[in-house]
Each structure stands twice: as structure tokens, then as C-alpha cells.
């Protein structure tokens, strides 16, 4: 079973910002610049509302998705005929409350938060597991770092992600806030950054002023129960609201080219459970489980499996 072809059309504007979405889509389909030599695509993705060939695509029988930054950018034809609108927004966006939204568009709009990251590429590391890694690496039993600030525990940018993965707690401001939360890092940030990503203080992260942040993080580092609850809360926020993988899945599902929602084949069901529990695609646990199951389900066809396990 081969993945469905998703034809890409663009032009006129720089579409490099869409690269993370295209990468995430590769889990579910084969995104490729529209090319007759590759055959007829299952659907078309326009990288902007002014993409070259969009009008023709909208007149075709193929489902069309359009990426835009503002719904007001869409032409009347696009509003009427597009199967899906992917709306890139800087923060939480309520399409139902947007006066620019034609009511019929609401159900066809997928919100893509610009801060979103691919959760599948960020393993959840609880404070306990972090402490085990520090033990293994010979690092201090308690370790606080600061990213994007000049506080008491600064870290060079090149070491930022690795530091976020093993620290006890972190002060984080700026673009690495969402990756930090995705890793399950107990995070301290300022009120502005928290609001920017829709995070709630004491549920997803801790909020403190610049002068207090270091001390708050140091205190969090020695409170494992609170740190673990915050780390998990932050991870869940990213999984629910800021996961590029969910945007990609919602897009291909809305285009009608995704996998069936409830796989019937035993191997696919098992694989779906592995994925739902957060098991990395090529982890020994996934491979062992699927091989054992395949011993009664017949020769394993990895392409039968759902999602990212292929």
C-alpha cells in the first residue's frame, strides 16, 4: 500500500515557513510539487491564497487545502470551494469569534499555531527520568538552566535542547518555550510568553518575573511532585494545542486521504495503541510487540500500520 500523493502548489510568496508542516505531512502522505509525471494527486495543498494554479485547482474535482495567515486573504472562490483552510496564527485563535469568518468556513478551518512543534520528535522526559540521566552523565543531582535570558544559569544556544532534556527545571523565554514543554521540562517563564502560547500558570508551567525566575526554578527543581505535575501538564498542552503532527493529521483527514480512524486489522489496532501511549516508531518495544503479533497475523506489512510507525 503506497501513501497518497498530495500535490503542492505555491509561488508568488515565500513558502519556506511551511516546511515543518510538509515534513509532518510525510507521515501520512507523499507531498510533492504538482507534477503530471507523478500522476493525479489525491488532493492539492496550496501554500498560500495566491498560489499559482489555485483557481484551476479549485475548479477541479480534487479536494483543495489552502494555507493562509488571515481568513480575509481568501478569495470568494476559495472561501466557497476549498475543502480545508489551514490558518496560521501567532497564538490561540477562536475562528468562531472571528468577524472575517464566513460561518460555513468554521468547520473547514484548521488552526496551525506558529509555535507548534512535532511532538513525536520530542520524547517526554519526566523529572525522575531526567534525574536518572543526570546520574548517568555525572551531572549534579539538581540542575537548573536558563534559556533565552541572562539569568543565573545561562546555557549556550547550541546546548539548549540537550540542557532542556536533562535539567531539573528551566527558565525559558522565546522560541524554545514550546519545545521545552514538549520535552516535559518543568518550566518557569514570564506572563507574556505564557499568554502567547495559551499556557496556564501552575497547570502547564510556572510564571514569574524576571527577577524572581531563577529562584522559582531552583525551588521547583527540588519539589519533584510539583515539577512532575507541571512537566506533564506542559507536555499535554503541547500535545493538545501545539502539535504539528495533529495539524498534519487533521489536514489529511479533512482532505479525505488519511487512514481510517478506527483501524480494523489487528496489527494496525495494536500499532495504534502503541502510538497512543507515546511509543517511538522504531523503539525496541514497538518492534518486539509488532513482530510477536505478526507471528500470528501473517507477514508484517509495515505500510498497513497507522501513522508514524511506518
Amino acid at each position: 500500500m503506497s501513501l497518497p500523493l498530495l500535490g503542492l502548489i505555491g509561488g508568488h510568496v515565500d513558502s519556506s515557513a511551511l516546511t515543518p508542516l510538509v515534513v509532518a505531512l510525510r507521515t501520512w502522505c507523499r507531498p510533492h510539487a504538482l507534477d503530471r509525471n507523478l500522476g493525479v494527486p489525491a488532493a492539492i495543498l496550496a501554500t498560500s491564497p495566491v498560489a499559482i494554479g489555485l483557481d484551476a485547482a479549485l475548479r477541479s474535482p480534487l479536494p483543495v487545502a489552502i494555507v493562509c495567515d488571515h481568513l480575509a486573504e481568501l478569495s470568494p472562490t476559495a472561501r466557497e470551494s476549498a475543502a480545508v483552510i489551514v490558518l496560521r496564527t501567532p497564538g490561540p485563535h477562536d475562528t468562531a469569534g472571528d468577524p472575517a469568518v464566513d460561518r460555513t468556513l468554521v468547520d473547514r478551518t484548521i488552526v496551525w499555531r506558529r509555535d507548534a512543534v512535532a511532538v513525536a520528535e520530542h520524547p517526554y522526559l519526566s523529572p525522575f527520568v531526567r534525574s536518572r540521566w543526570r546520574q548517568r552523565l555525572g551531572l549534579p543531582s539538581s540542575m537548573t538552566v536558563e534559556i533565552g535570558s541572562n539569568g543565573a544559569h545561562p546555557v549556550p544556544a547550541t546546548d539548549a535542547l540537550a540542557s532542556l532534556a536533562v535539567c531539573s527545571a528551566a527558565v525559558v523565554r522565546g522560541p524554545l518555550l514550546v519545545p521545552a514543554l514538549a520535552l516535559g521540562t518543568p518550566v518557569v517563564t514570564n506572563a507574556t510568553d505564557a499568554a502567547r502560547i495559551g499556557a496556564e500558570a501552575s497547570v502547564h508551567l510556572s510564571v514569574a518575573t524576571v527577577t524572581e525566575a531563577s529562584a522559582v526554578a531552583d525551588a521547583l527543581a527540588v519539589e519533584p511532585a510539583r515539577a512532575t505535575a507541571l512537566g506533564w501538564g506542559g507536555r499535554r498542552l503541547v500535545e493538545g494545542e501545539l502539535d504539528l503532527g495533529r495539524v498534519a493529521f487533521a489536514l489529511i483527514a479533512s482532505l479525505g486521504i488519511g487512514p481510517i480512524e478506527f483501524p480494523a486489522a489487528p496489527l494496525a489496532r495494536l500499532d495504534a495503541e502503541l502510538e497512543a501511549l507515546g511509543t517511538p516508531p522504531r523503539s525496541p518495544v514497538a518492534i518486539r510487540t509488532l513482530r510477536r503479533a505478526a507471528s500470528i497475523a501473517g507477514p508484517m506489512d509495515w505500510t498497513d500500520l497507522t501513522g508514524s510507525r511506518r
Binding site: A225, T228, T289
Partner: protein
């Protein structure tokens, strides 16, 4: 309602969790429900430990309510899942690197530990209600998984049979003769006793021969009674006839021995690192909480031997301490909408 109590099965092993599951089924039936125990075999080595979790994940159960008791049964999926947690796989958490755990600091061990933590947190988060059997288990759940839970205390096995009896001259302890129960510590304490008090240990385990050798080496073999397996009736009698109960395991989840001792009107001597036992024993009120050294345990035993009236008084306080324990409110909480 129709209730499935879900629990792990380790073939040929029986302990507190098994008694808990069986007694919960009986209590649920007493409350007018239909209840059954559902168990799936489990192993503890890290290579295979995820297999049973996935088996639970893929096992469909038709019931009005499922109550999961221990790892990995809480991986069961059900729209009305309640967890009453006796324990997680402690070898991957507080027991890591310990003598009975294969979760070590190598690459694979760390990744499996990471994955198990994530799996556990997700599966336990699904529960409509999350209870534990003790504050100690709730604390671990908060520390390792960041999840809030409510301790729900229940009576120990033989609750209806246990009764106070005349204060005897021996201290008693029923336990599995395994490292985490620290029977050797009690034998060590014998060597520090000033009084001729005897120690009766009931139960079997891999340390039996070692304990005999230890007692001989310390010159206290004539004051150690290794009773082996004892019947329920004998267990009740041993409790009733003891001077006190000495029980100092390492970080116990709950500790039926403490509850049974109190139910039988006997004070309990324990240690500061004995976990769930400390939720019941109040130093100087219904027993003694020692620093866990053989000398301190021996001193506590000697105090009761010198003053049996003190043992009776503290034993009575212990009996009062557990007087409210009953299965009916436990079942009511677990089955509440």
C-alpha cells in the same frame, strides 16, 4: 452493577495484592454487585514487561465498571475505569538499581524507564477516579508521575477473626522472608536484647536458610522460632498471644501486618523508613517508631518485655486506631458515580 476487578497475576506467587483483589470482589458482592476478578499473567523483567501492559490494552471487557489494582492491569481501557492502586512496577521507579530491579543506567534501561513512565502516566490519567491504597503510594504517584490521587484505606485479611488475647512473652512477625521485608534486621535485634524475649517469624522465602545461619552466628538461635507457613487459624492465635509485633520492612506500600497487629490489640515496633506502616504507628502511642537499628528495635522490645501493661495499653490504642476500617465505605467510594 457488574464490576471487573483487574489485577496482575504472577504464577505461583501470592501476597498482599492477591488478598486485596479477592477481598474486594467479596466486598463488592456483599454490597449487592456482581463482581469478578480478571487477571493476566505478568513478568517483571524489563525486556518483556511491556507485553502484559499491551495485553491489557487490547483486552476488551464488557462490564459497568472496571477497577484496576496494580501494574499493568491499569492499562485496561474502559469508559468507566477506576484505579485503586496497590503499586506500580516499583523496580522501574524507587527500586531502580536495587537488587531486585533490572532497570539500570545503561542506554536501554534508561529508555525503557522513560517509556514506562510515559505509558504509566497516560494509562493512569485515563482513570475516572484515581485512588491508592495508602499515602505512601499516593506520594510515589505524585513524585514519579505528577498525578494526584486519594488514599483509600481498607481492612486487612482475617479482619473478622483477629481478636485481642492475653499478652505473651514473644514478639511476633508474619512476613515473606525476602530482602525488602528485612527479616535479618529482626534477627540482628535479638542479639541486642537485654531481656530473654523470643522472636517468632512466620512465613517462607528465599532467606530462610540465611536467617538460621545468621542466628547461629549471633548466638541467638535458641530464641528464634522460624515457623514457616502458618494457617490462618494459627496466624490469628499467634497475633493474639504475642507481647508485641515487630515489623520493619523497607518502604512498605501499606502493610497488612500493622493493621492485623492493631486489630489483635498488639502494639507495633517499626522503623522510620518503613513506608506505609508509619501511616498507622504513632511513636509512644500505639507502638514505637525506631531509627531502624538493631539496637533501637531491641530497646523497644525490651520496654514492652519490662512493662507488659504498657504493651496492653498501646495495643488497645492500636485497636482504636483501626476501628473505623470497613470494606463497605471502600466499595461505596470505588463505585460512586
Amino acid at each position: 452493577m457488574d464490576i471487573c476487578v483487574c489485577g496482575a497475576q504472577v504464577p505461583f506467587m501470592r501476597g498482599g495484592a492477591e488478598a486485596l483483589m479477592e477481598n474486594l470482589v467479596a466486598a463488592a458482592e456483599d454490597a449487592g454487585h456482581r463482581a469478578e476478578l480478571v487477571r493476566i499473567p505478568t513478568v517483571w523483567d524489563r525486556e518483556r514487561i511491556f507485553d502484559a501492559a499491551l495485553a491489557w490494552r487490547m483486552t476488551p471487557i464488557d462490564a459497568d465498571l472496571v477497577i484496576a489494582i496494580n501494574f499493568p492491569s491499569y492499562f485496561v481501557q474502559h469508559p468507566n475505569k477506576v484505579v485503586w492502586l496497590a503499586h506500580q512496577h516499583r523496580g522501574a521507579y524507587d527500586g531502580a538499581d536495587g537488587p531486585w530491579s533490572d532497570f539500570t543506567l545503561d542506554d536501554q534501561g534508561l529508555e525503557l524507564q522513560r517509556l514506562l513512565t510515559e505509558w504509566d502516566t497516560r494509562a493512569l490519567s485515563e482513570a475516572r477516579r484515581l485512588f491508592t491504597i495508602s499515602g505512601v503510594v499516593s506520594d510515589r504517584l505524585a513524585r514519579y508521575n505528577g498525578l494526584a490521587s486519594e488514599p483509600l484505606y481498607h481492612p486487612a485479611p482475617l479482619w473478622a477473626d483477629l481478636r485481642p488475647g492475653p499478652t505473651g512473652a514473644s514478639v511476633f512477625c508474619p512476613l515473606r522472608l525476602e530482602g525488602n521485608k528485612r527479616p535479618g534486621l529482626l534477627v540482628d535485634a535479638l542479639a541486642h536484647l537485654r531481656t530473654p524475649t523470643r522472636l517468632q517469624l512466620a512465613g517462607r522465602g528465599s532467606l530462610a536458610d540465611e536467617l538460621i545461619a545468621q542466628a547461629q552466628r549471633l548466638g541467638v538461635a535458641d530464641r528464634l522460632d522460624l515457623l514457616g507457613f502458618v494457617s490462618d487459624a494459627e496466624l490469628v492465635d499467634r497475633y493474639a498471644g504475642a507481647l508485641a509485633v515487630v515489623y520493619a520492612p523497607h518502604d512498605e506500600d501499606y502493610g497488612y501486618v500493622t493493621l492485623q497487629a492493631f486489630r489483635a490489640g498488639k502494639p507495633v515496633i517499626t522503623a522510620t523508613d518503613s513506608g506505609g506502616v508509619l501511616e498507622w504507628v504513632e511513636d509512644g502511642v500505639n507502638g514505637f517508631v525506631t531509627d531502624g537499628s538493631p539496637a533501637a528495635i531491641a530497646a523497644a522490645i525490651d520496654r514492652f518485655a519490662d512493662d507488659p501493661a504498657l504493651a496492653e495499653k498501646m495495643g488497645a490504642a492500636g485497636r482504636d486506631r483501626v476501628a473505623a476500617l470497613d470494606w463497605a465505605p471502600v466499595v461505596a467510594r470505588l463505585t460512586a458515580p
